[in-house]
């Protein structure tokens, strides 16, 4: 495993946890009596945001752990590249749709960023371990 891949896993892992934790916490903040909604939306928005936040925390934790464990790093890279491609595809389709036009052109730079991350995971992940041949 190269140092660049280790750094990529660690950085993306920490970023995912940093994004996921507030999303997860938003559900509980929303339940506070008299509190303001942390996210623009109702109970279902916070419900699904917390669900996504939990998944992001798990994904980020796995990546951060994978930065130090050779046996995890390859499969984590494949799964992460796939996930980032899906995230980019969603934003490209959102741009097509037009419902999110108030976000100006935010979808396109985000999609490009996710595609770059996917490319990084595809090309920096370790090569398949060579099989040991029994003597």
């Amino acid at each position: 495993m190269t140092a660049a891949y280790r750094i990529l896993c660690a950085l993306v892992g920490v970023a995912l946890i940093a994004i996921g934790a507030p999303l997860f916490a938003s559900f509980f903040a929303y339940q506070q009596p008299g509190g303001e909604a942390p996210l623009p939306g109702g109970p279902h928005v916070h419900y699904f945001a917390a669900t996504a936040g939990g998944a992001l925390i798990a994904w980020g934790g796995a990546l951060a752990a994978g930065a130090w464990r050779n046996e995890l790093s390859r499969s984590l890279g494949t799964a992460s590249a796939f996930a980032f491609v899906l995230l980019a595809l969603m934003r490209i389709l959102a741009w097509f749709n037009g419902d999110y036009y108030t976000d100006a052109n935010l979808q396109r730079p985000l999609a490009a960023f996710f595609l770059l991350a996917a490319l990084g995971f595809v090309w920096l992940r370790p090569a398949r371990a060579s099989r040991r041949v029994a003597a």
Binding site: I92, A94, N97, G98, Y101, A111, L119, V122
Partner: protein, 82 residues
């Protein structure tokens, strides 16, 4: 092999992402494109209402001229296919 396949998919999405502002299909997604017709439409403010004809909730034809004898409230709502 799979690595190159994944790269091809990602490159195709990159190209699509870069092409979006120039595609007719993506015309609705760009704020500049979405608002392109607003300036032209704004020039119609203060002009007489065109002779529109549309259907009411029961499917009966309604002409704008028929509405002029009474107070009229026009509302505009965002449709699903906006």
């Amino acid at each position: 092999m799979m690595r190159w396949l994944a790269t091809a998919v990602i490159a195709a999405l990159f190209a699509l992402n870069a092409y979006l502002p120039y595609s007719a299909l993506g015309g609705r997604g760009n704020e500049r494109s979405v608002r392109a017709h607003v300036a032209a439409a704004a020039q119609l403010v203060g002009q007489p209402l065109p002779a529109l004809e549309f259907e009411d909730a029961n499917g009966n034809a309604v002409r704008v001229g028929e509405l002029l004898e009474r107070p009229v409230l026009l509302t505009f709502e965002r449709s699903v296919d906006w």
